[in-house]
Amino acid sequence: MAFEPRTQPTPSGARGGVLSFWGITLRKRVEIGLLYSREGNYARISEACRQGALSAIDAINSAPESGLELNAIERDPRGNIDLYQPLCTEILRETSARHVVGCVTSWSRKEVIPALEKAGGTLWYACPYEGFEASDSVVYTHACPNQHLLPLLSWTFPRYGRRGYLTGSNYIWGWEMNRVARDQIAAAGGAVLGERYLPIGDVDVTRIIDEIRATRPDFILNSLIGPSSYRFLQAYAALGREDAHFTAATCPVLSCNLTECELGEIGAAAEGLISVGPYFNEAQAVLPGAAASFGSSLEAAAYSAVFMLAGLLAQNQKHASANLGELLAGSGAAGSGIDPETHHVALPVLIAQVEDGQFKVQDRWPEVAPDPYLSHRDRVPAVHRPRLSVVR
């Protein structure tokens, strides 16, 4: 599904949940959890998701026909991995919330899953991730690899080449992204010229830059997060000023997780960076009737998570207390966009490049069905042939 434009704040079919007596509408109060870190290495990403969720809550609460009044129960793990599980448990135990919108890193998502299982709760996860998961307790509203990495690489190969350098933060996102990339590059007859990881938060990128300078790849896949990524992009821009090969025309940096919400932090060093996602801020142009736009795909995915949840809750007689299984067994499930088998969603795939501080969309596929285990070859979007103007 495409992300809903904000001019249509009514969850689809939400009228089923409205109780009306002589014209007076009674709205169901529903508590939902928010579990986003407001400080730490990935605070900007967290904040973008949080804003998306909060603005969706506002939109639903200000639309009487939604039949719901959502009440956010917020907990802040402050970027500390060990606080996610206890705070998630606290939300599920001390409040009536059964649904938690939250988590940025895969590490934190995996931490909260046992707590969700125990309490029958659900996590609505709004960030791109590395796939190979389909928890019964999670709904994944952002992209998995067949919706980000695979189309990005197949778009890149004919335009820039098949010799890649892979880097990432030293945890599952970086490891698994690079493993999938290695397979794709090998299958395309290319070569991985180097692969290096940095601990989360580490900004010593000297060795990575040295290796890139020595191996002269066709592209760099950057799965670093937070300050490591910002520092790397700045150092790579400096390398480009020394040697013109290391610029976007001949050796671009690719990313599956970089969005508008981090561009400000990176500044001019982001110029030429190529990113993939289900939404870019420029994309408002293709959503007819959308009065406002989202700041980033993270904001859009969190917004959409709350809307999907509200749509399901409004149609279920148990409302607040209904768990995900009950919601997806109900009548509203088919229209929710959530794949009942994997709990992922079909998404547009857009490839965009930073120009003058903004993402400019280069290519797009309108809707790609999710394939979290990469077990369906037919769900890899077909490569668009490069336009001559794009070939440098």
């Binding site: 019964d136 088998e341 994997t342 285990y373």
Partner: protein, 202 residues
């Protein structure tokens, strides 16, 4: 040894679950369907239809040999044991079936994907090893053939070492094993009534 897991196309692969109707079957089916497999449930017997399955998950708690359409240990696909009671006798039985991986019951939200990959890898490794062992056995059984061929060649005035080198050269020229070359030398010899094998290597 570093082993690279190659993710074969699990989409559309068939999994047969041999287990009585139970929450474990529901949970396991959910996981397998999410991964992309087609799932069938069987009880009390697998039936010959299961021969077409790509993976078989079987209950160890109530399981017995007669449930399978093959003899213990020779299943033609990877097997995953569903273990409830961890009694040594039951685990021994599961091993005798040739379990390539296991899932401990109750099956919950995860575990199926790693069981599939591990079972597939162990099954393939086991099959490769079995083929290698069969090949080595056959070559071992041919030791006498090689000795006889060397003796025959040596009888024509070559030294023992030269006769062996000559045999090896014959094998290399025709890209066959030394045992196969030895068989041909002996066959040629008996065809020629033991008088002349020059045609073999002229």
């Amino acid at each position: 040894m570093t082993r690279r897991v190659h993710l074969s196309n699990l989409g559309g692969a068939r999994a047969a679950i041999l287990h009585r109707p139970h929450a474990t079957v529901v949970a396991l089916t959910r996981q397998l369907v999410a991964i992309g497999l087609e799932v069938t449930q069987h009880w009390p017997n697998l039936g010959s239809g299961a021969l077409a399955a790509d993976f078989v998950f079987f209950d160890t708690d109530l399981g017995h040999d007669e449930q399978f359409p093959w003899k213990p240990g020779v299943a033609p696909m990877p097997l995953v044991a569903l273990i409830g009671s961890e009694a040594p006798g039951r685990i021994e039985w599961a091993l005798n079936q040739g379990a390539d991986a296991q899932l401990v019951k109750p099956v919950g939200d995860s575990g199926a994907y790693s069981a599939l990959l591990i079972a597939q890898q162990s099954f393939e490794a086991r099959r490769e090893q079995a083929a290698k062992i069969a090949d080595l056995r056959a070559r071992l059984a041919d030791r006498q053939t090689v000795v006889r061929a060397v003796v025959l060649l040596a009888a024509r005035g070559l030294g023992e070492a030269d006769a062996y080198d000559h045999l090896r050269q014959l094998a290399m020229n025709r890209r066959e094993t030394i045992e196969q070359a030895a068989h041909r030398v002996l066959a040629q010899f008996s065809q020629d009534g033991g008088r002349n094998d020059r045609s073999e290597h002229s």
